[in-house]
């Protein structure tokens, strides 16, 4: 069994022989084979002797227990042999980038193990270490703002981040979603975790160094003061409260060097040839887009109700620059209260809320995730309380040309391009409330709410309406003028005007030329190539046809569902 562990730690995997009979003494019965050279390599490992020591330790311990030799047990336990995997990590990942590339497994395993209950399935210490490392990782992602995609699946939550140019994907389970399946070999998993915790620890250290952050992570001085709360004792012991506060993810981390105001790091411009110019521009565009995405939630203040997944949301919001807090009875580390007037978004996942503040959006948690995936703040109306949510699309799917694209995604892409299909984008809560009234969404406003606010709101409305009227009046006047002018122009029916130079549409001409070239190229094709080309084109067309069919189906479905709803409404 220790051999198996060693193989896993050293990265030696079983091998399927090409000729089973040759290696298996003429039998074709399936067995597990390793390469001889690999195993020979394994024997040079210094850990082998450590494993042996451990085996002996266990034997001695058992004997001491059997003889009720308690002092002996004590002494043995004090001198328990231990080993380190540092050199194995160094050997398997000779450079830091290698380690980063192989981080997916490590992260998923650590996040998984950190959610385990502390009951005998694996060592409590391992669980604690996993928790520590995963919190460190999340804090790094927050401070480096490197999160890119989030996907809520029925299995768990998938995250994707871009760390130092490497794409790292990991999955975390939902809270309290644990059953321990019986057909999983926990010993093997524990061995993998042993390796991965060491790996993740070293990677974390290095990553913190690159950001000039203190490792092990320390909370920033200012935020630490802010976090002092009188309810601390309720959540954690004195010794644990600091780590708990760290894992609350609500405060920023201390840096080795005090942070200077972020400068806009512009790309160095080198004089380059025309061919590269376009490339450079594209890169700049991507850069700009990314920086915009990084500061997506900057300036927004979120408040989490107690029924939403706190950790995931806090992590996600903070890694896009938003501020987040929660009820102080929910978890340690809340920074502001519900009553804070500056809160812009209140995340709720229940059909209705008692007290409502007029100057904030009450939205469902999916809005946060969809906004991140869409790389822009989506219109909030579709995510209000009690509204049927639009589907949560997977950001990991990339449609190629001609594939079926769900209409929600089409809409999203249009939004990304800057168009405004259908409803206008709402930017301030006041506007939003009006819009929501117009959509017949009934808010159950509490009577206790401050009358002042309502009054203010009314006043605003009053102010707004006349201005609208004025504008309309202006418009009408303009129109009248135009009409008059046109009528005047009609009376002078014949007139010589200087000739205008017809603007040559260069782009269009180029396009036409291109098309012409393509047609000629097709004509010049050999018979065989032509056949292949036709086939490809046919395939593409078929794809488009199918996509169209699906879209039509969807439309029919949507229509049917809307009519159903209408009918229901009428009935009710």
């Amino acid at each position: 069994e220790s051999r198996r562990r060693l193989c896993i730690l050293k990265g030696i995997y079983p091998h399927e022989p090409k000729h089973k009979k040759k290696v298996n003494k003429g039998s074709t019965a399936p067995r597990t084979f390793y390469l001889l050279k690999d195993i020979r390599f394994l024997l040079h490992e210094p850990i082998v002797s450590k494993f042996r020591d451990y085996k002996i330790f266990i034997r001695k311990l058992r004997k001491a227990y059997g003889k009720a030799n308690w002092s002996g047990v004590e002494r043995l336990k004090e001198n328990k042999p231990s080993y380190k995997l540092d050199h194995i990590i160094k050997e398997r990942y000779p450079s830091f980038i290698d380690a980063l590339r192989d981080l997916d497994d490590a992260l998923s395993m650590c996040f998984l193990f950190s959610t385990f209950a502390r009951t005998g399935k694996c060592h409590v210490q391992t669980i604690q270490l996993c928790r520590r490392l995963s919190v460190e990782w999340m804090n790094y992602i927050i401070s480096s703002r490197s999160l890119r995609k989030v996907f809520l699946s029925i299995k768990g939550i998938y995250y994707q981040a871009e760390v130092l140019g490497q794409t790292v994907t990991w999955i975390t389970p939902y809270q309290f979603a644990h059953d321990h399946p019986t057909d999983v070999d926990y010993r093997v998993m524990a061995t993998f975790t042993e390796l991965y915790t060491t790996l993740l620890g070293f990677v974390n250290f290095r990553l913190y160094q690159t950001l000039n952050l203190v490792y092990p992570p320390k909370l920033d001085g200012q935020s630490e003061v802010g976090l002092k709360a009188e309810f601390e004792e309720d959540f954690a012991l004195e010794s644990e409260s600091y780590t708990e506060k760290l894992s609350a993810l609500s405060a920023s981390l201390a840096r080795v060097v005090a942070q200077v105001e972020e400068e806009e790091a512009e790309l160095d411009q080198f004089p380059s040839e025309a061919g590269e110019q376009g490339n450079l521009e594209a890169r700049e565009k991507v850069e700009l887009e990314q920086s915009r995405q990084r500061t997506l939630f900057e300036g927004l203040k979120f408040f989490l109700n107690r029924e939403v997944p706190r950790e995931s949301l806090a992590f996600v919001i903070r890694s896009f620059g938003g501020q987040v807090s929660w009820d102080k009875s929910l978890c340690i580390g809340s920074t502001y209260e519900v009553t804070d007037e500056t809160i812009t978004h209140h995340i709720v996942d229940r059909p209705s809320v008692g007290t409502q503040y007029i100057n904030r959006f009450y939205i469902q948690p999916q809005w946060v995730y969809d906004s991140i995936n869409g790389k822009l703040l989506l219109p909030v109306e579709e995510y209000f309380l009690g509204v049927t949510l639009p589907p949560h699309l997977s950001p990991f799917v990339e449609e190629s040309e001609g594939d079926y694209v769900p209409p929600e995604k089409v809409k999203l892409m249009a939004l990304q391009r800057g168009e405004q299909p259908g409803q206008p984008l709402l930017q301030s809560p006041c506007e939003c409330t009006r819009a929501s009234f117009s959509q017949d969404i009934i808010f159950t406003e509490n009577e206790e709410e401050d009358d002042e606010e309502e009054e203010e709101e009314e006043e605003e409305e009053v102010e707004d309406e006349p201005s609208d009227d004025e504008e309309e009046a202006e418009d009408e006047a303009n129109l009248a003028e135009m009409e008059e002018r046109r009528l005047k122009g009609k009376s002078l029916s014949v007139k010589v005007t200087p000739g205008k130079v017809k603007p040559e549409n260069r782009a269009r001409a180029a396009e036409e030329e291109k098309a012409e070239e393509k047609r000629l190229a097709i004509m010049m094709m050999k018979k065989k190539e032509k056949y292949l080309y036709d086939k490809i084109m046919f395939g593409k067309k078929r794809k488009v046809r199918e996509a169209n069919k699906l879209a039509a189906k969807r439309k029919a479905h949507d229509d049917a569902s809307t009519t159903d709803k209408k009918k229901k409404k009428k009935r009710s």
Binding site: Y13, S82, K90, E91, I154, H392
Partner: protein
Amino acid sequence: MAAARKHKRVAASQPGFLSIKSGNDGNNSNIKLRKRVNKNKKKNWGKYSDIQDVEEFLDDVRLQERTTGGLISEKPDDVLFFVDTGEKAKAKPPAPQTTKKGKRSRPLRIDLILQPDSHIEAPKNILAFQQPNAKKERRMAEKAAKLASKGVVPRRERLLQLRRAAWASGIHLKEKPIANNNPDRSFYDLWSTEAPETADPYYLEQTKRKLIKRPEKLNEKPSALPAIEVVAPGGSYNPDLFSHQDLLREAHEVEVKKKKAEEKIARQLAVNEELATEESIFKEQVEGLIEGDDEEPEEDAEGTAVGPTATQEKKTEKQRKKEKARRILELQRKTERRVVARRQQLYQLKSIRAALKKQEERTKMRQAQRKAKQEAQKSMPRRLGKLKFEAPDLEVQLSDELASSLRSLKPEGSIIKDRFKSLQKRNLIEPRDRAKFKWGNKVKYTEKRAFKEIQ
């Protein structure tokens, strides 16, 4: 041995020595039996030399030593003789009270019997007085004393003193190694560039200060699959209708396939034949009895059937020659035909070229196919152990199971299982069964005879 020799000498020097036991007749018989033998063989020395006298003498000496504690001849006169001055006064009368007392003080007879009656003292046990390593220890003690006089403290003492001093000052000399999974363990920059080793690499390797270089091949991944395979878009908690339908269809297909396989097995195991009825049993029993006429011709056939005749007639010389000629002719014809065909190929050059081209194309295509297959194999789970890899069940929520909000979401499947299967799928570990527990031998139940009889 030396003592015996000495006695022998003593006996020889005393011609008038008289032995206690007189063995004259024994001497006579010896003379009578005297036989001539070659004395040049060592074997015969002992066998045929007369040592009777020596033996007897030695016996006598031993007897004397045993009984008197030494040779009588060596004893002083006053031990051997006494001056007889007549009878002494009568011994004290045995008093009755003394008898009683004497009875008590007198040793038991058995003890008297067991008392050694030999006057020779038992040899001393040297080992009982010897000290092991006495010499070495004495020398070491001397050395230690010498060093102590000079003021040199031995090593063990010195280390102990150091340890005590360290303990007193609160510094531990040897830090205890922190366990690998300690939650408070520290990390450092593993990939920092350290100073390159200057020593001889061979020396370092032999002294195990440098590890053996890891083969490059081990860094290759055994599968091309990514570590995390993201669920299909239909697996979203709030999926798009069509992608959800796609996922459902996929799951459905898997299920149908499984069902088909099950049905096939059931079909194969089903009993096809009809069960035996009374009629059919009767028919079976009667068969052969009624229709007895058919057997006779069969027997006839068996009788007439004869094996191949063993004796074949020998070929004549003429036949052999003819056969040979025919063979040669055949060969000639074949070669001729070959030559003609080759000549004919000159005119078929075009078609041959075409055929060659075709063949080449086919090999090329096959190569491409093989390569594609190998590529596909890279992302397939291999057969690594007794068990085949079994893909996990697709996680699917039916349309009515879908949650309306994140709060009411019921997660499907378990991530640990997903991770475990992923490791298997990527050929990192072999698929294994869960270890089954075995609890000793199987218990067998029997009825006791007595119990049986009652029933």
